[in-house]
């Protein structure tokens, strides 16, 4: 993952990270959708484990989660899908999840499975760093990162606390900071793009890590706005809800793959313009 960011920086490009709720509408199709997204210009993927009670997600991703659970998606199957994807790409893969599936299946077990499948880092949306030492150590012991999140409610003192608590034991790869663009759930709109750019630079300086901005990016224009100009602002963007919407709209696998591919191309072009 660190190499991917270094390559992007050399090329003067912003990173495009696509979030997929794995298992929506089926596990096999998620693999196809992931590969299509990478082929269309995504630099990295967040592979989402569906959860029955996703309190940080808006209605679109909550619905995607329900469809994925109905199709039999579990954390272990998401990891299996990641393994399939890894066989066909070197792109960084992040396992995105709520904490209960990790806790119930077992932190050490999940970290081992994820590492074996070729996952680079984990991001657990409802696990503040104060509660994360077990998983952080389990990830670090296997050479994986546990990505920190900062939000608009994180003041300077809180950011310092997040930084202090997020330091993984020696040797672990560092990944990126996920900067939530607004107080809200995924799929909300109208983020303050200018403020986001300023705060991304502060966060990067503080953490010494790339910063990706997520929440509220629904197309090329907002992706470009959120990413800001070359050499300034965040290092890239994460897009999830808008991708899930395309998946929801497609009536066949071919159509869904095509919709996702076209959308990711639009995002890529906007970021590179």
């Amino acid at each position: 993952m660190d190499r991917c960011f270094a390559d992007l920086e050399r090329a003067g490009k912003k990173a495009l990270c696509v979030y997929l709720c794995v298992g929506d509408p089926s596990l096999d199709e998620s693999v196809a959708l992931a590969l299509a997204a990478l082929d269309a210009g995504a630099d990295m993927l967040e592979l989402g484990v569906p959860f029955s009670d996703p309190t940080a997600d808006g209605p679109v991703l909550a619905q995607a989660s329900r469809r994925a659970i109905a199709s039999g998606s579990t954390i272990e199957r998401v990891v299996d899908a990641a393994r399939d994807i890894r066989r066909q790409t070197n792109a960084p893969l992040v396992l995105f999840t709520y904490y209960n599936p990790v806790f119930v299946v077992g932190e050490a077990r999940v970290a081992s499975l994820a590492k074996d499948a070729g996952i680079d880092a984990m991001l657990v949306v409802d696990l503040p760093p104060e509660e994360a030492s077990g998983l952080r150590n389990a990830c670090a012991a296997r050479g994986m990162g546990l990505l920190p999140l900062v939000t608009p409610t994180s003041d300077a003192a809180r950011m310092e606390a997040i930084l202090r608590l997020s330091v993984a034991p020696f040797g672990a790869p560092r990944g990126f900071v996920y900067a939530v663009s607004m107080t809200g759930v995924t799929g909300s709109s109208a983020a303050d793009v200018a403020a986001m750019g300023r705060s991304a630079e502060t966060i990067r300086a503080m953490f010494g890590m790339p910063v990706l901005v997520g929440f509220g990016i629904d197309g090329g224009e907002s992706a470009r706005g959120a990413a800001g100009p070359r050499g300034a602002g965040p290092d890239g963007v994460v897009v999830g809800t808008a991708v899930a919407r395309r998946i929801e709209q497609g009536v066949s696998q071919d159509e869904r793959v095509r919709l996702v591919r076209t959308f990711v191309q639009e995002l890529r072009q906007a970021l590179d313009a």
């Binding site: 029955s52 940080a56 808006g58 209605p59 954390i75 209960n100 503040p128 409610t153 107080t183 809200g184």
Partner: protein
């Protein structure tokens, strides 16, 4: 009563349970709340104001009533029950213990400068209590309630609306309390700077379990003093447990009385051997839901499973973390009562004592005979039991009627 705000110097853990498992956006809000709980609750101004409201608005202290005829109906020869006391939280303004907590939290929200209140509700009692407190203190209020619960608790929906609250129907998932709580958390994440989330049970992320228990402790403090005024402590203190706020409130005062047994009663729904129950402590596993590590009803992959109880207030797949710890330490024991047993107990209480109880409380009453039999056997004499009668049953009349119990 509020001098003792417990566990605030820690991470809000009760043994291996509790803690704070929330989206990062909410962490600063919970830290702010934690500071307010530590500073505002023990202050003289706050205590005086809440105490005045408890006395003159809520109607505290609530009576401790001896239910002789009900006791004889479940224990005809008097072999098990010497005395059965009911702590009459149903006589609180708005008809349930929920008002103790809602008034305290909305008063705290006001002291914190928050300008909007949100809440979630299952049976509607917490929603009504929060809407009432918000009306009294002049704050706008939105209450999230699952559509299924809105249908089975229609009178409470009307009450909330009359009180000026907006009832926001939740149409996702099972359309019950768990979904209402998810939706309230989403609202809170979005509006966290101005909005206070009034949590209804002794559950959720730190400091809510401590805050709610501290505010509900008044139930047990009064009950204990009332028992002593009658000459003795009870042998057993019984309360129903969904999230567990009335039970924690009732028990706090008795925790150090080693000889007083604490029994919580969960909803066994259509039976513990079916998948249709809400008996989290009996059938749950350790997990993380709505911000706390506790027992939760989930599958081996960590997905929360659907629950069922005839009582909307108990129909929840989690339980407050302090209950999880009390179970682990064996300080409290837990039983489970089915829908049918609860309905029977509600019917019997109405016929023998002229008290129409909420179906939540009916679960506690449904376990009394068995609890008394076991404890009398252990102690070798009939026992004194105190039951927290957490709420009145007007809201459940249609459910009782539809099961032929009216």
């Amino acid at each position: 009563m509020l001098e003792r705000v417990e566990s605030l110097d820690r991470k809000g853990t009760f043994g291996r349970f509790g803690g704070r498992f929330v989206a990062e956006t909410l962490v600063p809000a919970l830290e702010e709340l934690e500071r307010a709980v530590a500073e505002v609750l023990p202050s003289q101004t706050f205590r005086r104001e809440l105490s005045e409201l408890f006395d003159n608005y809520v109607g505290r202290p609530t009576p401790l009533f001896e239910a002789r005829r009900f006791a004889r109906s479940v224990d005809p020869d008097g072999a098990s029950i010497q005395t059965l006391w009911l702590k009459r939280e149903d006589l609180c303004h708005t008809g349930a213990h929920k008002i103790n907590n809602a008034l305290g939290q909305v008063l705290l929200a006001k002291a914190m400068g928050k300008t909007r209140i949100i809440a979630e509700t299952g049976a509607g009692q917490h929603g009504v209590a929060t809407a009432t407190a918000a009306a009294l203190l002049g704050l706008p209020c939105d209450v999230y309630q699952g559509e299924v619960d809105m249908q089975r608790q229609a009178p409470n929906v009307a009450r909330m609306e009359l009180l000026g609250a907006r009832v926001r129907p939740v149409r996702t998932g099972s359309r019950t309390l768990v979904d209402a709580m998810n939706e309230a958390m989403r609202d809170w994440v979005t509006n966290v700077r101005t909005t206070y989330y009034c949590v209804g049970s002794a559950a959720g992320p730190h400091p809510y379990p401590t805050l709610v228990a501290t505010l509900q402790r008044v139930i047990g403090d009064e009950a204990r003093a009332q028992c002593l005024a009658r000459g003795t402590l009870p042998d057993v203190v019984v309360a129903c447990v969904g999230g567990g706020s009335n039970a924690i409130g009732m028990w706090k005062a008795f925790l150090d009385d080693a000889d007083v047994k604490l029994v919580g009663v969960e909803a066994a729904g259509r039976g513990l051997d079916t998948n249709e129950h809400a008996a989290t402590i009996h059938r749950g596993r350790v997990g993380v839901l709505h911000g706390a590590k506790t027992y939760v009803l989930c599958d081996e992959f960590g997905q929360i499973v659907p629950t069922h109880s005839i009582s909307a207030g108990l129909d929840y797949p989690g339980v407050g973390p302090e209950h999880a710890a009390l179970r682990d330490s064996n300080r409290a024991t837990y039983m489970a009562v089915t829908d049918d047993e609860a309905l029977s107990a509600a019917h019997d209480m109405a016929r023998t004592e002229g008290i129409i109880v909420a179906l939540e409380s009916a679960h506690a009453l449904g376990a009394v005979a068995e609890i008394a039999r076991r404890d009398a056997l252990a102690r070798g004499r009939p026992v004194r039991i105190a039951v927290c009668l957490s709420g009145r049953g007007d809201k459940d009349l249609s459910t009782l009627a539809s099961h032929g119990r009216c």
